[in-house]
């Protein structure tokens, strides 16, 4: 059994690696897409600095950066540097290796994404259950309406609206993650509370779209499960409605939700990017936006790459999770 599970995980891992490989290809294509490549900028910089830019030098530089090579070779150079040296290239925007930039931002970005994700699931699952159990109640209508609105309002609009509401109510738009003076203060309860206060809007905005769609998925799944025969059978044997709900229905309805964890990362990353720009958060989203406006493609591309990899990793984990949670899926997977 365990050996089979391991085999299953390995097989999944293999497809995952294939997917990541394809993703890297797409990313590199995007990196090379902008019209003005970085070498032109580089040569301009040198010319300005008074250095002679002879055709020979340009050729030499092209060779150095592999730009005279076919796409595939350039790609190989790029990917092998990442794989073997963890070197994602150089950011001309910030004059530092892309790796350093990512290192600086990945923690806040990931923390924000993770917290949002926890928030998303912690909110949407109970609401989904509530709505399904109390179908057509006032609460159900209320949450359905909120859900629809949440899915309809673009993140950035929601960000702006909440920012304005906050300004109207408190006179402060709660930009960034900390109040003045808190950012560089030592960790304390006050700082934590401050952080929490500033996190409300970002988490709401990032999580909203996801929460709403998950809420609706959960509601639909729960309704499906509640209408299934086994619920009747369980009632017929004298089980409490509540016990049936939690032992059987919720558990079953959770399966599709659990399998969506990986894909929900896609929405969360989208949310983090936008919200970081609108609400001025110290996450990668802002840097990515600037990098794109400056066509600092190695930086932007690497971040895109990382986000995609994390999504793939997320789906891998949720696949394993599903296999672990659902005996049917498990036996199907294990068969091959």
């Amino acid at each position: 059994m365990n050996k089979n599970f391991l085999m299953f995980a390995l097989r999944k891992l293999a497809t995952m690696i294939l997917t990541v490989f394809l993703i890297s290809f797409v990313v590199f294509f995007i990196i090379t897409l902008p019209p003005g490549d970085f070498l032109t900028n580089y040569i301009g910089r040198m010319a300005e600095a008074g250095e002679a830019v002879s055709p020979e030098l340009i050729a030499e530089l092209k060779a150095h950066y592999g730009l005279d090579q076919p796409f595939v070779v350039q790609y190989w150079k790029w990917i092998s540097n990442i794989v073997f040296h963890g070197d994602f290239g150089y950011s001309f925007l910030l004059s530092m290796p892309v790796t350093s930039v990512i290192k600086a931002y990945i923690v806040p970005t990931m923390v924000l994404s993770l917290v949002t994700m926890i928030f998303t699931y912690a909110i949407s699952i109970p609401i989904g259950i509530y709505s399904a159990v109390h179908q057509y109640s006032v609460g159900d209508y209320l949450f359905t309406t909120i859900g629809f609105i949440g899915m309809a309002v673009p993140n950035f609009l929601m960000g702006i609206i909440l920012m304005f509401i906050s300004f109207k109510l408190t006179g402060n738009t709660m930009l960034g993650l900390y109040s003045p003076g808190m950012e560089n203060a030592a960790w304390s309860m006050a700082k934590f509370i401050d952080l929490m206060k500033h996190s409300v809007i970002p988490i709401l905005v990032i999580g909203l779209m996801n929460t709403c769609s998950l809420m609706r998925t959960m509601r639909g799944q729960m309704l499906d499960e509640l209408g299934k025969n086994y619920v009747m059978a369980a009632r017929a044997k004298g089980l409490k409605a509540k016990a049936i709900r939690y032992k059987y229905c919720v558990r079953a309805a959770m399966n599709p939700v659990a399998s969506s964890i990986g894909w929900s990362l896609v929405n969360i990353f989208t949310g983090t990017t936008i919200v970081a720009i609108v609400l001025n958060l110290p996450s990668m989203g802002r840097v990515m936006h600037e990098a794109l406006l400056d066509q600092d493609m190695y930086l932007a591309g690497s971040w895109l790459f990382l986000m995609a990899i994390m999504t793939v990793l997320g789906t891998f984990i949720s696949d394993l999770l599903l296999a672990w949670l659902d005996p049917r899926a498990r036996s199907e997977y294990l068969k091959g």
Binding site: G44, R45, A49, V53, M96, F167
Partner: protein
């Protein structure tokens, strides 16, 4: 009229500076203003002379006594005229982060400071002497002065910078080679009119606190040039030792011994080793190559934490941080008139966010200071009471606040010809309704004006600001109709096309790049609509900002024109960048006092050739008269040729400042040469606690 006063003085004092330079400089006499407590201070009030924050460190034994941190008493620089009544130590000043060229000047400490009147005043240097022949400048440093890490600052730091970082070689083609800085300054080159030979200055160590600059031919404006373009003419040798590539076993281009050149104790370091050493010292100092290393750690050093400086506050954040924290330099070498070590404010925070958000942060009381975009003036003004701040206005001696500058070195020959055509530029000038633009962009705060020196300045020319400013699209169309190479009729999109050549049939298109710091999109959108009326297409290329803009101009194949919001012209012969050929977005000579390896040559007999020649002449001007004449000629050329098509006059520089920030001098003149807020000496501001 502040502006009038300032610029009248400017002319007078530049002349004085010239005279001084000609007849031998004066040495500053700091002894006259003793650093120790003046006698008139009442005995019962004990003046706190250092920030409590530092006093604590001293008490804890982790910092030497104040007296050990300051230079010897006689060499302390005393800020006499900016000493406030009852200053208070401490506090954090939170302000907007305008990027490295904003927070850099804010804390900058040059060797010599350019004054509002165009002269220079010693700053890091204590004083200087000029030899009678104008060839040897002896510069005196402050004894006991220390870098922010406590290491002594000496003449070796100056000579080391010049000889091993800035001018590492001098080629047979008279080119200065800078291995490190990424930039070289041709202002150090002088040409002897007698033999026509050009050589760079030689900088040597006389003793620990004296350096000497030896010129090949007289150059009366050398100190201004240093004050403007190479103000940080020193570097902590102890810090750079192993990350500067130089082989001291080889003879230096000067032929002098390395000891005299500040190279004592240096060993051979290759470029690769330097890059590796830097990365090994700190992961943050990982660079792609030596040029990058030089450009970043050598040139833009103030963005890097741990690099010792002489500034009032030093960077204490990573470049990737959203808020840059600048902490006070415990070894800062200036005191106020009452002997208090400066600065008063402990910490400065520069908060990075979208430009549009600063106003709301200011109003919400989350910032103490913000530089106001003119377009946002109404918002800031309306929020004064709510945010408990005041919007101050300062003078900017700029020529225009909205202009377009065609790239005169654009490589496409047809466009080059078109851009060189004065009728074309004039057509662009009168195609625009300046009054309407003023309303839309600046809420009517500016005035319609051609790009020219404002009234009250020494460069002011009667009528220059009114030239070609009358809105007249019909006349503009007539001017364009007269240009043969472009069609009189319009294509399907409503644009004129080229009638012949490689671009035949293609619309006349100007790819314009906005400026990252400006809210240029709206202005450019307006211009595009006016231009469309005369059949010219204007497109804003993505606002690529940062350090790539000038490079793209230099490349000459992408950017056809630049939009400028604050065309800053200080004085054409002190700094011809804007009006001379240097920075007139062309590659004829170079810019910021730099020179190009392969300068382009303008067409013989063209107006541009004249300007290029003038620029060259200025760089070798041996007397003030020549320099002045060149300056006059520059102004005349601009008047005649409308090189820069200006639409609106400059407005005041607006600053929103929290009401608890005291001693801010709104009367300071704000421009690049005077280092913007640096000119208001932020280290003399204090925050009411």
């Amino acid at each position: 009229m502040k502006l009038k006063k300032f610029l009248a003085l400017s002319l007078a004092l530049i002349m004085t500076a010239g005279i001084l330079a000609g007849c031998g400089g004066k040495e500053e006499t700091p002894a006259e203003t003793p650093a120790e407590t003046p006698a008139e201070t009442p005995a019962e009030v004990e003046i706190v002379k250092e920030s409590p924050m530092l006093a604590e460190l001293v008490a804890a034994g982790s910092l030497p006594e104040l007296s050990e941190r300051l230079p010897v008493a006689a060499d302390i620089m005393v800020e006499t005229d900016k000493t406030p009544e009852n200053p208070q130590y401490g506090g954090t000043l939170r302000r907007n982060n305008g990027g490295e060229w904003d927070y850099g000047p804010f804390t900058e400490e040059p060797l010599f400071r350019l004054t509002e009147d165009g002269g220079v005043t010693p700053n890091v240097a204590k004083g200087y002497d000029v030899s009678d022949d104008g060839l040897v400048y002896t510069i005196y440093l402050r004894e006991g002065m220390k870098w922010s890490d406590g290491e002594p600052f000496t003449a070796h730091d100056v000579a080391f910078y010049y000889n091993y970082m800035l001018v590492t070689d001098f080629t047979e083609e008279n080119k200065i080679v800078s291995g490190y800085n990424g930039t070289t300054y041709n202002w150090y080159k002088t040409t002897d009119p007698a033999d026509g030979v050009t050589k760079p200055a030689i900088v040597t160590v006389v003793d620990d606190y004296t350096v000497q600059i030896q010129l090949y031919a007289p150059k009366p404006l050398i100190l201004q040039n240093i004050a403007i373009d190479n103000k940080w003419m020193f570097a902590p040798k102890h810090w750079y030792k192993d990350i500067v590539a130089y082989d001291t076993s080889v003879e230096h281009w000067t032929g002098l011994s390395h000891d005299v050149l500040g190279g004592a104790g240096l060993t051979a370091v290759t470029e690769e080793e330097a890059v590796a050493n830097a990365a090994a010292r700190n992961a943050r100092f990982t660079f792609d190559d030596y040029t990058q290393l030089g450009n970043q750690l050598g040139y833009m050093y103030w963005s890097y934490k741990d690099r010792p400086t002489l500034r009032a506050w030093t960077m204490d954040s990573e470049k990737t941080d959203q808020t840059y924290v600048f902490v006070r330099n415990p070894y800062f070498w200036k005191t106020d008139a009452e002997g208090r070590q400066l600065p008063y404010i402990d910490t400065v925070e520069m908060v990075t966010m979208d430009n549009a958000l600063y106003s709301q942060e200011m109003i919400a009381g989350n910032l103490d200071m913000a530089s106001v975009d003119v377009g946002d003036f109404p918002t800031y003004k309306a929020g004064e009471a709510m945010g408990d701040y005041t919007v101050y206005s300062s003078v900017q001696p700029n020529w225009t606040s909205c202009s377009i500058e065609l790239n005169q070195s654009y490589k496409d020959p047809q466009y080059a010809e078109l851009f060189a055509n004065i009728d074309f530029r004039h057509a662009l000038s009168i195609a625009v309704d300046r009054n309407e633009m003023n309303e839309i962009l600046y809420a009517g705060l500016a005035e319609p004006a051609q790009a020219a020196a404002p009234a009250g300045t020494a460069q002011f020319i009667e009528g220059a600001r009114e030239k070609w400013t009358e809105y007249d699209p019909a006349a503009a169309n007539a001017l364009l109709d007269g240009i043969e190479m472009i069609s009189n009729d319009r294509n399907a999109d409503g644009y004129r096309t080229f009638t012949s050549g490689a671009n035949a049939g293609k619309p006349v298109l100007i790819n314009l790049e906005g400026h990252e710091k400006c809210n240029s999109a709206e202005a450019i959108a307006l211009m595009a609509q006016y231009y469309k009326e005369i059949g010219i297409q204007l497109i804003e290329i993505t606002n690529t900002a940062r350090n790539t803009r000038q490079q793209k101009v230099t490349n000459g194949n992408e950017i056809m024109a630049l939009y400028e919001e604050n065309l800053n012209v200080f004085n054409p012969y002190v700094r011809p960048d804007r009006v001379g050929a240097n920075r007139n977005i062309c590659t004829w000579v170079g810019k910021y006092g730099l020179e190009h390896a392969e300068p382009m040559t303008p067409a013989a007999g063209s107006e541009m050739e004249e300007i290029v020649n003038l620029t060259k002449e200025l760089s070798t001007a041996a007397t003030m008269e020549t320099a002045e004449a060149v300056g006059e000629a520059f102004l005349q050329s601009h008047l005649d040729n409308t090189w820069i098509v200006g639409y609106l006059s400059v407005t005041s520089k607006y600053t929103a400042l929290g009401n608890d920030v005291k001693n801010f001098d709104a009367d300071h003149i704000s421009c690049d040469e005077l280092r913007f807020y640096g000119n208001a000496k932020p280290y003399t501001w204090f925050m009411e606690q």
